[in-house]
């Protein structure tokens, strides 16, 4: 009780959650004790009004249905919960207990609960039971629906899963409800208008659950840990949504931050300290939504700590393992870091090429749908690898191995330099874990590769069919820019390739020339001239070495750099496509909603009330979807935008770095040349 009292007062707006939690945990006792006093007065009044409201509003709502509801609830949600909830909460409780274990919505409702608790349980229950229950549920659900969408859009994908989970939770909750029914009721009431909706809502219960993204995760976890905490979990989930709502306008990241804050609080109340940390940041168990939120959180952290970024990864010691066609190359991946997220400061693992590919598959599966640019690894080269496998230790295969080694190193460095990807458990596992599960390897890859090809094909088709009406000028220009840039890069790559080839040719020609000069020197009679010529041959030999080094410098600094960026630009385009897909989904939902509304209008006209209800339900469902998809679109747009800006910055930095490196190599070779010529000059002058 003490804890509850403490928490509840301070946070009032957001504090609702904590209160809820307390209630759930400590159950009836708490309620009776503290809350009753408060609740008593408001509850009786509230119950009456609610009933009235139900009757009237419902009709109105039906006529104007969703539109009015949506607008109101979203805005008001936070405020509503506080005051009104208490009054009506009582009614809801009773409902929840009796009819709907499904009331899922209740979790949201719960926020206000603490205040209400005492009263609702006793008196309201009875009143409400008959009709109200339904209303209440509906109301709560509505709130949830409307509010959560915002949150959900941010957290994106989770919704569906969440809904399913919610159901399960609901069942559990029912038990809880019985004990702490009071808690649940509060919210539903606050949403006055929702009451009308009840009928619809009930049928659509699924929709409602969807709204709650975050809650689901928590539920599952909590459920796993202990049944008792469930109510609290629900409350926590609700709190999350609340938090989300308030900050929705702000950046996603902020919202998530608050979420994280909320959850820990809840957990404390539950006394499960462990949970919060696990659930939010890393826990692989957590659903995608939780991941998303955790990512954003980490991203924030990363941005703050970007300056102190300290992580050096090198890929060394390529080594052939095995014989024949089963042979593969293993590389030593050494990491040096002061980041605390790793177990030690330096560690080394051995990885084979397919592990690198596997890492990419995992990362892109998880992150590219959210609009992140996942750096692509070097391509698989059957020709190159076959050569290596055959075991010819010739020049070209050595070059191939070195080239791939360098590419893998750059690939890993790009991955870890991405703040969100660095936090991915798979990345850490890749860098730290001694043995990676072999499942990652080629077989899965070939399957995945095939799927990818299919996906790409369908993407290409949909790209042609999707004609996106781009609203955002920034994206419009950026997409064009990226397209152009890719072409330029390709052109540059061709140029550099020819440059490198010429250099190699020059190096070869110089070598031949050196030989012929040596021949000339050896057949020369004049000893001084002969010596000078053989010296010259040596000089040319060294120059040939220089050319060769320069050729590989050209190659590794520019050719490979450009090749990397061509691949990366592909990934960037993938992000744009991803965004477009989300947009398309939103538009489709919009169209569907339109159709449903038209259908409803027809029904109204035809005066078929029996089907009308179903039509309204459907409209509500699609409205929720539209809002959710729109949020998702906004979110992915924000992410993609951020990613692209980051990509541009990285690119400029990368190129700068390479130019400096290149100039250093140029300077170095000129200095070598000076040395050579200075050494040769006296020889030439000594010719008598």
């Amino acid at each position: 009780m003490a804890a509850s009292s403490e928490r509840s007062p301070p946070p009032f707006p957001d504090s609702e959650e904590p209160e809820l939690l307390e209630d759930s945990d400590e159950g009836a006792d708490a309620f009776t004790g503290t809350s009753i006093s408060e609740m008593d007065s408001p509850s009786p009044d509230s119950t009456r009004p609610t009933k009235d409201i139900f009757n009237d509003p419902i009709e109105e709502i039906f006529s104007d249905p969703l539109s009015t509801i949506n607008s109101e609830p979203q805005k008001k949600v936070d405020t509503k919960i506080h005051s009104p909830s208490s009054d009506e909460a009582v009614d809801l409780f009773s409902d929840a207990l009796d009819d709907d274990s499904e009331v899922m919505s209740s979790p949201e409702v719960q926020n206000p609960i603490p205040d209400l608790l005492d009263e609702p349980v006793e008196a309201p229950k009875s009143d409400v039971l008959g009709e109200p229950p339904v209303h209440k549920n509906a109301a709560g659900q509505q709130d949830v629906l409307e509010d959560p969408p915002k949150g959900s859009s941010k957290s994106s994908s989770v919704k569906k899963a969440a809904s399913a989970e919610l159901f399960d939770d609901d069942e559990d909750e029912e038990d809880l409800f019985n004990e702490t029914p009071k808690v649940v009721t509060k919210k539903p009431q606050p949403s006055g208008p929702p009451v009308d909706v009840f009928t619809e809502v009930k049928s659509d219960v699924k929709v409602k659950p969807q709204v709650k993204d975050d809650p689901t995760d928590l539920f599952t976890e909590e459920a796993l840990t202990a049944p008792a905490p469930k109510p609290s979990a629900s409350s926590s989930s609700s709190s999350r949504t609340n938090g989300v709502h308030s900050e929705e306008q702000d950046l996603f990241s902020e919202a998530t931050v608050e979420l994280s804050l909320d959850s820990p609080l809840n957990d404390r109340k539950k006394k499960d300290d462990v949970k919060p940390s696990v659930s939010a940041p890393a826990a692989p168990v957590a659903s995608s939504s939780s991941k998303a939120s955790s990512k954003t959180l980490e991203e924030l952290e990363e941005e703050e700590s970007e300056d102190k970024f300290d992580l050096n990864i090198s890929v060394t010691n390529p080594e052939k393992v095995g014989d024949g066609m089963n042979a593969y190359m293993a590389y030593k991946v050494s990491t040096q870091t002061s980041l605390t997220m790793f177990r030690s400061k330096t560690f080394t693992v051995r990885r084979r090429f397919s592990d690198f590919l596997g890492l990419y598959e995992k990362l892109s599966e998880k992150h590219s749908q959210n609009g992140y640019i996942v750096p692509p690894p070097p391509e698989k080269s059957i020709l190159g690898m076959t050569k290596v496998k055959v075991g010819k230790e010739d020049h070209s295969s050595a070059e191939f191995v070195e080239r791939r080694r360098a590419a893998l190193e750059r690939y890993l460095q790009r991955v870890v330099s991405h703040p969100s990807l660095l936090q991915d458990p798979d990345v850490r596992e890749f860098l730290e874990k001694e043995e990676l599960p072999r499942a990652v390897s080629t077989q899965t890859l070939s399957g995945a590769g095939f799927l990818k090809m299919l996906n790409k094909a369908t993407d290409a088709v949909s790209k042609m069919t999707i004609k996106m009406n781009e609203q955002d000028v920034w994206f419009d220009e950026k997409i064009q820019d990226v397209e152009n840039e890719e072409q330029h890069m390709r052109k540059l790559h061709v140029m550099v390739e020819s440059l490198v080839n010429h250099r190699k040719e020059l190096s070869g020609n110089t070598a031949v020339f050196a030989k012929s000069v040596a021949m000339l020197g050896s057949s020369e009679d004049n000893t001084a001239l002969s010596r000078a010529l053989s010296q010259l041959a040596e000089v040319e030999d060294r120059i040939e070495q220089l050319h060769q080094e320069q050729a590989s410098n050209d190659f590794f600094t520019f050719s490979e750099l450009l090749a990397d960026y061509i691949r990366l630009l592909g990934a960037v385009k993938g992000c744009f496509d991803q965004r477009m897909k989300v947009w398309q989904r939103w538009q489709d939902a919009e169209n569907m909603l339109q159709k449903k509304r038209e259908a409803e209008a027809k029904l109204l006209w035809a005066n078929k009330p029996d089907k009308l209800q179903q039509a309204k339900d459907e409209i509500a469902e699609w409205e929720a979807k539209v809002t959710q998809y729109e949020r998702e679109f906004e979110r992915i747009s924000a992410t993609v935008r951020k990613e692209v800006i980051r990509f541009d910055k990285e690119k400029a930095r990368d190129f700068k770095r390479q130019i400096v490196k290149y100039l250093e190599s140029l300077l170095n070779s000129q200095q070598q040349l000076i040395k050579y010529w200075e050494a040769f000059l006296p020889e030439a002058k000594a010719i008598a």
Binding site: L492, S516, S523, D525, L529, A532, I659, Q670, I674, W677
Partner: protein, 372 residues
């Protein structure tokens, strides 16, 4: 010998001979040849076409009243340039080698200039009237060509195969012939290889140019990040441009010094080979005559012996002239090669220093940009 007959000596100074200009009219190149009179400050300028050079060379070959003419190593005249056939660049390269490179036939002019200087500096050839009239007469010396005479290369090629390996009576010449064969071959190869190097350097320069130009495509002023990247691209473009100039410079250094030197060396070796071959022919002739004399009937014996004596005398004369020529050739070619090598080395050294300086400036600029 030199200056012994003042009246026949060349009236212009050998060192002052320059080809100052070349004009191209269709397929015909006209060279402006300037030289300095020996006894006055007056300069002479004449215009000559390749045909005139060819006429001069033929005149030298067929110079009469010059004892031991066949023992002389004639300065080699570059083969004819065909400027209008620009589409047969590779063919021109094959034919002329280095001389086909360079802007506006610079290296070709250099080679012709060097040829004239060598002829004028030659102790025997400088007395030739044809040279004087070539250098001084404003009139073109006439188009009489076709007097290939004994030096017809075609017939020579056939005989060469048979007589090349003929054993010499004189060890000195035998050695010289062996060495000459070696040197001629290896200097030719070296020239070709250097030519390859230069060609590649030029290609590289062109590739750098393309690269530098393409980098300008990436310039984009849309937003801050794009501007930053554009700056980087432009910087890189500058750098690559510098690399391009570096290669152009290195290539032209190679061309104007070592390239010309090796080319000259290789052609001179050919010329010496021709001289040695002429001498070998004479030797074979002498040996045939000797055999004929031994087998000759008594009544013809005297005639034959007289004939043999004449041939022998001629052969000895050729041999002695050849010996002088060979010595002169060796010392001069070492000197020539030395100057070319030194000039080359110095040029390359300067270029390397210049660009090292330039690169370090760029590097400095880049690092500053990096820290911005």
């Amino acid at each position: 010998m030199e200056g012994s007959s003042a009246e026949a000596a060349l009236s212009v100074s050998a060192n002052s001979i320059r080809i100052t200009d070349v004009t191209q009219d269709g397929d015909v190149l006209t060279f402006a040849i300037a030289s300095q009179k020996l006894n006055s400050s007056a300069g002479v300028c004449v215009f000559r076409m390749y045909e005139d050079f060819d006429w001069l060379q033929q005149s030298l070959f067929s110079e009469e009243n010059l004892p031991g003419l066949q023992g002389i190593i004639f300065p080699p005249l570059p083969s004819k340039a065909l400027p209008s056939q620009s589409n047969t660049q590779t063919k021109a390269l094959k034919q002329l080698g280095f001389l086909a490179l360079g802007q506006d036939w610079q290296s070709y002019c250099k080679a012709l200039e060097f040829y004239l200087q060598q002829v004028a500096a030659h102790p025997t050839l400088c007395k030739c009237k044809a040279l004087d009239s070539f250098l001084i007469n404003s009139e073109s010396p006439g188009k009489q060509r076709g007097r290939k005479g004994i030096f017809n290369r075609l017939s020579q090629a056939v005989e060469e195969m048979r007589k090349e390996s003929h054993k010499d009576v004189d060890n000195f010449f035998q050695n010289e012939r062996n060495k000459n064969t070696n040197l001629a071959a290896s200097s030719k190869v070296a020239t070709e290889k250097l030519l390859d190097v230069v060609m590649t350097e030029q290609k590289l320069a062109v590739a750098c140019g393309h690269f530098a130009t393409s980098l300008h495509l990436c310039v984009n002023q849309d937003d801050a990040a794009a501007v930053a990247f554009s700056k980087v691209c432009l910087k890189l473009s500058d750098v690559i441009e510098a690399v391009k100039r570096n290669y152009e410079k290195v290539a032209s250094n190679n061309l104007s010094t070592l390239g010309l030197g090796l080319d000259l060396e290789s052609r001179y070796q050919e010329s010496e080979k021709e001289m040695l071959f002429r001498r070998t022919c004479k030797l074979i002739e002498l040996e045939t005559v000797k055999k004929g004399t031994e087998k000759a009937k008594a009544n013809k014996r005297e005639v034959m012996e007289a004939f043999q004596k004449a041939v022998e005398k001629e052969f000895n004369l050729i041999s002695s002239v050849a010996k002088q020529e060979i010595e002169r050739f060796h010392s001069s070619r070492v000197k020539v090669l030395k100057t070319f090598l030194i000039g080359w080395c110095e040029l390359q050294l300067n270029t390397a220093k210049e660009f090292a300086e330039l690169y370090s400036q760029h590097l400095e600029a880049c690092r500053n940009m990096y820290s911005e």
